[in-house]
């Protein structure tokens, strides 16, 4: 999905690397009334799976629920990541959409 952006930022301090991911996603809970039609609700649309890989090896696999905020910003920490290591993030939502982003440890 080209229309949903996945941004990754890394910051290394000592031997710990912070990885922050921002996905441009609505994260609809399915509980909010439709602003145009009060009897209807905005259908649920949220990310369910978000995985982090380093050089192709999965290190963190997270399951998100509708309670995660709009445009989720998820952070993890890696130990001993070297400059040049490739970090890849993949996500998929409840409607079957998916996206990914890549970054290199700086």
């Amino acid at each position: 999905m080209a229309d949903i952006q996945t941004k990754i930022r890394t910051k290394t301090q000592g031997d710990v690397t912070d990885v922050l991911v921002l996905v441009d996603h609505p994260m609809e809970t399915g509980q909010r009334p439709d602003p145009k039609d009060k009897d209807k609700k905005v259908p649920a649309h949220y990310i369910q799976k978000l995985t982090f890989s380093v050089n192709g090896k999965e290190v963190v696999s997270s399951d998100l629920g509708p309670a995660v905020s709009k445009d989720p910003l998820v952070g993890i920490k890696l130990k001993g990541a070297k400059p040049g290591d490739k970090i890849q993030v993949n996500w998929s939502d409840n409607t079957g959409k998916s996206g990914s982003g890549e970054a290199t440890v700086g």
Partner: protein
């Protein structure tokens, strides 16, 4: 005698339809199984204990000071509450975040294989509630909790 072929035909088409139905159900199953990896029961549980139980298979957690839960004590915007969980212990397998009084308490969970025991995100809160972090390390469950006050209207209180 002329009816027989028709009956046979009907019977056969019905059988084919049934087979096709079963076939397509079978075809759908892999996709369904993939989606089921996402712990639906845990996310739809309405009570904190049920959610922890559905996720980890047990709701017995022991409080631990090694888990650092960083959340604001007072949230100005209940739709964007920053949370950070740091588990300062070896062999962290999973971290889960719950908001006790949300309609569905489970917010997110992460399993680790080679990363530090750290997870941060932003979450929505329905009302003032305890935020609970459950950490699975070395096969045991540990927890930490903190109350977060949600102020409607943004004027403190």
């Amino acid at each position: 005698m002329t009816h027989l072929p028709r009956r046979l035909f009907l019977k056969n088409t019905l059988a084919t339809a049934v087979l096709l139905g079963a076939g397509s159900a079978g075809l759908f199953r892999p996709g369904w199984a993939l989606a089921a990896e996402w712990p639906k029961d845990a996310f739809s549980a309405k009570k904190l204990d049920e959610a922890i139980n559905a996720l980890f298979g047990s709701s017995q957690t022991s409080p631990s000071a090694a888990i650092k839960l960083k959340v604001p004590t007072q949230a100005e915007n209940s739709a964007q509450v920053q949370i950070q969980v740091m588990a300062d212990m070896p062999n962290v397998e999973a971290i889960a975040v719950f908001v006790e009084k949300n309609p569905s308490p489970l917010v997110a969970q992460a399993t680790f294989a080679g990363a530090e025991g750290y997870f941060s995100a932003r979450m929505k809160m329905a009302q003032t509630s305890d935020v609970v972090a459950v950490v699975k390390a070395g096969g045991k469950l540990y927890s930490a909790r903190q109350n977060v006050k949600v102020t409607a209207g943004g004027c403190g209180g």
